[in-house]
Amino acid sequence: MSGTRLSSGGLIDRARRIDFNFDGRSMHGFGGDTLASALLANGTGIVGRSFKYHRPRGVWGGWFDEPNAIFSVRTPKGSLPNVLGTTTALAPGMDIRSVNAWPNAGFDVKGGLDLFSPWLKAGFYYKTFMKPDWHLFEPMIRRMAGLGTLEPDMVEGYTADQVHAQCDLLVVGGGAAGLAAAEAAARQGKTVWLVEDHDTLGGGLYRMGDRIEGLQPTDWVAARKAAIEDAGGRILTHTTAFGVFDHRLYGLARQSAVDVAPTLYRLRAKECLLASGAIDRPVTFGNNDLPGIMSLEAGLEYLGRYGVRVGNAIAIAANHAQAASAAARLSEAGAKVSLFDPAKGDLAASGRRGVKALRQGKRAEAVDCVLASAGWTPVLHLWRHAGGKLRWDEALATFLPAEAPAGMRAIGAANGTFDLDQALAEARAFAMGEPYSQATTRFTLTPTLPKPGAKGRQWIDFQHDVTLKDIELAERENYVSVEHLKRYTTLSMASDQGKTSNIPGLAAMAALTGKTIPEVGTTTFRPPFVPVPLALYHGHHGGQNFRPLKRLALENVHRSSGAALGEYGGWLRPAWYGDRPGPEAAQSEARMVRDAGGILDASPLGKIEVMGPDAEAFVNFVYYNTMKTLKPGFLRYGFLLTERGVIFDDGVVFRMGPNRFVISSSSSHAEGVTGMLESWRQDGNDPDRIFVHDTTNHWSTVTVTGPKARDVTRSLGLDVDLSADAFPHMTFRETVWRDVALRIARVSFTGEVSFEISVPASSAKALWTALADAGRPLGVRPMGIEALSILRAEKGFIIIGKDTDGETMPHDLGFTLPRTKKPTTFVGDRGLHTDAANDPDRRQLVGLSAIGDTPLPTGAHLIDGTDRRSFGIVTSSYMSPNVNRPIALGLVERGTQRMGETVTLFHLGQTYQATLTSPVAFDREGARIHA
């Protein structure tokens, strides 16, 4: 192949020279070049190696249909893998490296693999490496596979901007049809977006260079561009519409420089005109993968856009009328051109590192380039994303748009309208909503499809080395479904996603099975239409912006108090305080609470208000426990169940008045419980008589717990009698403190006397400070969640989701009465009376006392001695500083009947011994909680 830069022509800026390297060689191009056009202009024939056989590969396409020219690119900002050479603009200082080749594409030591190709057919891996074990071979195969690699100097700060937008009309494609349509629609006053993936408008107009509506292509394009913008239309070049999603959402990727992440536009367009054009289909013939064989369209593109003549002696192998005019165009550019009609006989190319000759029967032409076209394939990926149907057109030998998806129409070549004048008329009519009857096309071709049984190696998928023989093999082995064919041979699974290989592959299978191509069908078209970086999707949602945690009003106070913060149920909360190691600090804080007391930020506890005339009946209905007997000023612990009867959440219910309750859900479930309540409120209840407000964010809650909790709380000077008799466990009071509302409840998760004090969040700091100041001289200091976890486990108090699983029901935890006695129905009622709920082997909550001084591993399985069947699991395990031994909770089959039994546990290869006990390890009488 002898690509040559012409002294004139093209859209490039010859005044702007750009120096770059390719595989260690210095080259130069010009402003407006792509990597591929610059390489072709420098006479580069081999740009890469195929995936499987490491065959030498040259540039095939002129744009997104390129399967071969994939590079690693290093810029001053860093390196990027798998850059498509035909769509990437050349920039100064680029160091371009071929991929899947060592030391380079020109000489690749793995090129010898091609000698073994007779034994490496489709399915080779599946058949050969099954025995003795696939995993023995997998590492080696994985090392050999793949294209580019991530380098250590990967571009930093590669973060995509993301923008939401909307418009009346989106025109995809800035070729002649797209420009004409956008102009017509914009003049009508519609908000129009026109997106074009090249950095210049005009589509295929520059290939032949013919005048359009009396103007040179550049002048005609400039006039349309000005008209669109003057009418308020927006034009985004270098922007690819890569996908259509629900509710007419279009994904647009706008590229600026290769080392800058593209911008994602999430565009909602009421209507879309698809003017995405058509691409050349390869002609399938012997050795059709040699460097120097490329699409006819690409050869003309490189000439028209970049002033590059792709060969000196060019053979055109095309089956349609454009071949003659293309030959004339290339001859004018100085090439010696010969024409071959593939329909007149089998073609075969010869050469080793590039095409040297093309033969047809007895005719042979010495060439350095073959431009092939078996017809045009409309680019209809977005059409299919949107749900549009396709129909096979025998005359054009391709799929064309059939039943349109809502809000989308295809125009121009994408609609099979290959005549320019007809495409313009069609585009303008569709844009203005006027009727248009498609005229008879002047574009004719002789269908040229792969012929099974032909001699020689004929490539169907260039990147993945799928040959016609591979399709034949798949058919023989009954992989005739198009989806099976794809997966068995990897046809169309390369990075070009079958843009060049799909129709030849389908046609081959159709010929082999005696079916029509529509009967063979197509595989599913899925976004993205072209590869887009993952950075496009996540945008700036990385680091702290990825799944951000909820933050406490008191976070700064905790930080200044030396808290170690961690995630607990979606909140960033103090795990412990001080500089000590976490386990040591947690033990110390847990001991402190039992000895004196602790102060805990319990703000994430849910505060979900349920109000209205039917609030009482509703709360009684959604809770497992009876709530209608709850009196104002009192609290009650209870479970919310799923309809299956499985525990969804636990918590306490405050009765504020006859028509008002506050549900204090667990900390991580406030939003889930609110959603559940909203759901039931609207299902089977009168939603105008029940209202649910999640007020969790308005309140901050500080819990004072321990023997000295009352003394500390008393320091607030509340007008509430805090004595045990006047203010017993599971009651609450409402009052005012420093002119703000204050709610104080006697409820405990530690087993100690506790006061849970809630104030509006803006007063939280004052409350915390007052309590901390009062507690300090009494030895009552802040405590973190880790200490709380130990304390509640000592008391056998569960954490939903930790000590329960997706099967746990209330009676598994010992809460049996409502199941049999509650007179009114409740959510989960029926689920609690199923066979599964009555299974005598259900897992029940137990305590485990480890034999020895080592705590049991959380997650350890209780196993029987014979087949290691798991009959239980450790859900929580700690060293208790207050009972001075390891404690644990677990769910065990028939656990309550096995108290005292010694069991064996297994975890990560280790075995342990433990005795099943009551879950309550500390203060079994509960004296402290009522003190």
Partner: protein, 181 residues
């Protein structure tokens, strides 16, 4: 058991102001002060409120107003003091939420452009509700001027919202469109 303190920035100071350019237009983000927020629900709440009811894209007045959240729910902003609980007379559920939200004021010619980094909100698409997702976070989004917006997040998510706004402002691509005549 892990100390992840260093992974999370400390909450932003209430006085902090973000400034930058979006699509070449100036934009400013600051915390907004709302001295009373009251969440009210009831089947007739949309018609019974005496305050101007603000949906999208109405511009909120300087004085008290009510944000329309859904057919049976509003959020009164700087409205009259009300007693929490069930109002038997008016059949309304009332909750003080003054400390439950944090509001950001986003203003300047580039304000709408910044909103478009995180939300599918357009002046041309009206909505009876100001409830939205912005940067994936639930929020109330309403206009306070021609190029001024208020974004109201739950208090616990204000830090996440601030981080999302500041990151988006930093990564805004320099895109310029020609304005419609």
């Amino acid at each position: 058991m892990r100390d992840d303190t260093h992974k999370w920035d400390a909450p932003f100071p209430a006085s902090s102001v973000l400034t930058g350019e979006v699509d070449g237009k100036a934009c400013r983000v600051s915390s907004a002060n709302m001295h009373r927020l009251t969440l009210i629900s009831g089947s007739g709440v949309q018609t019974s409120s005496e305050l101007p009811l603000i949906g999208w894209p109405e511009i909120a007045p300087d004085g008290p107003f009510a944000l329309s959240l859904r057919r049976d729910r509003i959020l009164e902003v700087n409205g009259p003091a009300r007693t929490d609980g069930w109002d038997e007379l008016k059949s309304l559920a009332i909750s003080d939420m003054t400390d439950g939200y944090h509001a950001f004021s986003v203003d300047g010619p580039g304000a709408l452009g910044l909103l478009h980094r995180g939300a599918d909100v357009f002046a041309e698409t009206p909505s009876a509700s100001v409830a939205r997702l912005i940067f994936g976070l639930p929020a109330l989004v309403y206009r306070t001027g021609e190029t001024a917006f208020s974004l109201v997040f739950t208090r616990a998510q204000a830090v996440a919202a601030y981080s999302a706004l500041s990151t988006a402002l930093r990564h805004c691509a320099p895109v310029r469109f020609k304005e419609r005549p």
